[in-house]
Amino acid sequence: MNDVTTGHDTPRAGRLLIGLYPARYRSAQGDDIHATFAEATQGRTRSAVLREYRDLATHALRLRLRIGPTDPAGRVLAGAAPTALALAAGCALYFLLPGLVHRIRAPRPDLGLGHAVPAAVLQLARAAPWLLALGIAVTGRWRAARIAAVAAALLSGGVQALNGLHPYSAGQLAGMALVGALVLLAPAGLVDVTQRGRWEMAGLALAVALPATVADRYMAQHLPLPMLGLLPIWLGTLTAPALLGRLADRRRDPLQAVGVGLGTLPWLMPLTAVAAFDPPPRLRPLLEYAGACVAPLGMALAVAGAVQLARRVRASDPSDLA
């Protein structure tokens, strides 16, 4: 089998791919990109040429959707994606360990261990891919982590659908799909995979899972309120210091910082689904709950705004120059 391209077919394919670019960008850069593409694909193996096609199509579509690394939406996505992935992995860890232990140690008496083991396997299938995706991201390989996260979203969504869908669980499924979409669409070159960014992801995931697991045990014994119900508020509370830190750091892109806060949006999807498709008689408690979820983020924004204002006042104060 001839595995090397002849170069006759690539110019035509290149022209088709150049057609994916927005008209304005195409008229400014199209000829130059096409010339580079034709030379870069000449005499390459088929798999290398396919990678060229994929990367060119991705570049064109990002520009068309305005989610490239220089677009505001792309910068917001680059901030939201690692946060969403870290929170998803943290939640997966929180659900996984106590859930597995409980299912095996205390199977439902009417169903027995024959039901408990498949249920535990399903739970593992739902949670483990998120942990794998985070593990890959923490090693700095964001492109591979992106594939793993999309697979995790599909798998956990599939398991969720197997359990039947009602407004709340459909909202959970939409939330997982949103995490997958955020991670997939974020420009890979802009996501912070420096050592600091990787530690932030791992720290956020552990900060979700470990205290929530401990609180779960305590609340089950002493309070008539499950930790599960407080999880979205806990996620917002944890993300708020990260948001504040990013906004206060003048070297960081403010749009990426705002994205960090938006990384919590997938966990508000169940509330949105309930409000839209199965609204309770009184909407006020639901709105108060949603308010409690976003209040820490709002406070972080307010504090960051105050810090910026104080900096400006200090910078413009002539007495500081003396």
């Binding site: 850069q29 010339a35 030379e39 070159g189």
Partner: protein, 115 residues
């Protein structure tokens, strides 16, 4: 944006343009040579990096010429781009020096030592 650590493709593209202006395919070839054959930028990745470098004011268009009826551009570093690359080189040199210093200071324990 330039005072933070540069991403790998960005650094490689800036390095490829450090000694002379180059057109797109020449940048890809230079990056391949600089990285010892490890990093081959695809056309999409190259222009993603160039878009960002343009926006940050680190790269400019040096010249445009028509080759076989097509417009071809040559790219060059701006003064800001040279500064950013020099800053990055300084950061990498400092990290490498520190790594070498620590490695040379390392004294392996003799076999059988318990504390």
């Amino acid at each position: 944006m330039t005072d933070r650590q540069l991403q790998e493709p960005t650094r490689l593209v800036l390095t490829a343009l450090a000694d002379a202006p180059r057109h797109g395919y020449a940048i890809i070839q230079e990056v391949l040579a600089i990285s010892g054959g490890d990093s081959r930028l695809s056309t999409g990745t190259l222009y993603t990096a160039l878009d960002r470098l343009f926006q940050q004011g680190l790269v400019r268009i040096e010249s445009e010429e028509v080759v076989s009826g097509r417009l071809r551009r040559t790219f060059a570093l701006t003064g800001q781009g040279q500064d950013a690359l020099a800053q990055e080189a300084k950061r990498l040199r400092a990290a490498a020096t520190e790594a070498e210093r620590r490695l040379s200071a390392f004294r392996p324990r003799p076999e059988g030592a318990t504390s």
